[in-house]
Point group: none
Chain length 240, copies 2
DNA sequence: CTAGCACCTATAGCGCTGCTATATGAAGTG
DNA sequence: CACTTCATATAGCAGCGCTATAGGTGCTAG
């Protein structure tokens, strides 16, 4: 109907879907709205994308690259934990800027069906947490920390989206963010404590070494040795 | 069609909706399924509940009382923070036991539309956090803590629901739970491994682990394993 | 040049959805 | 009995995701 009759229908469908997803206020977006705006008919949509979810996945993966670009751009500050904070804030900002797209990406939850985008976001976080682990700043396994932080990050973002705009208080985000990061990190921004009741420095060091070994393949050990070594390392770093 | 033709249609509709919501696997629940199971026709539903969402709200508020009952029953342990942990676990357990009902309650997120059940759950948490605050165990305002903890709690539960049953790792829950509670509390139970924040590498991490292992005897490895482990550690830490 | 083929798009419509205009029955009240 | 009020049913609307079928388009082989 409108957007650039020159472009191929596939692109027009993508743009129409993205536009409707970005601007639709509350109600759902139908295939008929999309095809009408794109100036094509239904079978064209299903020829190119299989079904509605396929089209949405395509829109999401485009939106995800935008998200990833935001996550990666201002990453290397030298302080991994500070970068984690920025990734958290960027995640929330993305969700609030494009709530409908965000809801399609992270809010469309069904039992036992894990969207690919969640795994990607998790990997992104884990990557950064690995750097923190290498720097000895992590208290737990990077993978577990990534899952935990992402779950809280999504929970906060969903809660903020569901609130009326005027009530949205970003302090909820920063507070939860710092709580999570503080809890998984070795930061001591709090009244000092003895090491008798928490993780020992052995565990912290083992986690750091584990992450460092996986980041830069050391050739000091043969592959079979390394395998056993890593297993022992895991055993040590998994002990409470 | 089945359930107790004696009962008034309103109750039969509620039970049918609850049953379908509990047993439906993946796909959505339609009004036709509900009315057929209840043995009534469509206008009856709309006469009593206004629309589909009204019926679901009614089911939810019944389910919520079940949820609240679980939250309140084993509450007064004398340790408010311990009670918060139980409320968290009960929340997750409820979500995993009745995922579809939970998704209707907490996962049906739309921009600027806050379900009543969220506010109720928040109030429940805040009430308990107030006790912690009175006992001087709280670091932040109970209201803020409740919002933050609930957001993380919902985020974790949604993430667990979206995972395949066999992959569900409740450690994600306990870890996030303790992170949140620890961060808002005045508890000082942490193993502080104060680390010079110099750039760590494989070597530095290996040296740190080596030192830490010798300082505190880890019993995760047998003595022979430990001997070989230390040798490899030495090989790594002497490289480059 | 034409035949064949692969790709893309449109017409028309199926079965489903949430919902309702209208009508009928039942129950209580003057 | 007449009247009102509440509760249920018949029948159907507009919208949904999706598709069987057919036709148009452009490329390549003979």
């Amino acid at each position: 109907m409108s957007s650039d009759d020159q472009l191929p229908p596939k692109v027009r469908l993508l743009r129409a879907a993205a536009e409707l997803l970005a601007n639709s206020e509350g109600s759902a977006v139908s295939t008929r709205q999309i095809t009408k705006l794109a100036g094509v008919t239904a079978p064209t949509l299903y020829h190119h994308f299989g079904d509605k979810e396929g089209l949405f996945d395509a829109v999401v993966s485009a939106g995800f690259e935008e998200y990833v670009a935001g996550e990666r751009d201002f990453a290397p500050s030298g302080e991994p934990l500070e970068d984690i904070r920025r990734m958290w804030d960027n995640h929330v900002a993305f969700g609030l800027a494009q709530p409908h797209l965000y809801l399609v990406m992270f809010g469309n939850i069904r039992p036992e069906s894990r969207p690919a985008v969640v795994a990607d976001a998790e990997a992104l976080l884990e990557e950064m947490l690995n750097k923190a682990a290498i720097a000895g700043q992590l208290n737990v396994q990077p993978r577990e920390a990534a899952r935990s932080i992402l779950a809280a990050n999504v929970g906060v973002t969903l809660m903020l989206i569901s609130e009326p705009v005027e009530d949205r208080n970003l302090e909820l985000s920063t507070m939860t963010r710092d709580s999570m990061i503080f809890a998984v990190s070795t930061e001591t921004a709090r009244g000092a404590a003895a090491e008798d009741s928490g993780k020992s420095s052995v565990v912290v060091a083992a986690i750091a070494l584990n992450a460092a070994l996986q980041a830069s393949h050391s050739d000091q050990l043969s592959s079979s040795e390394l395998k056993l070594f890593l297993e022992w390392l895991h055993r040590i770093s998994s002990s409470s």
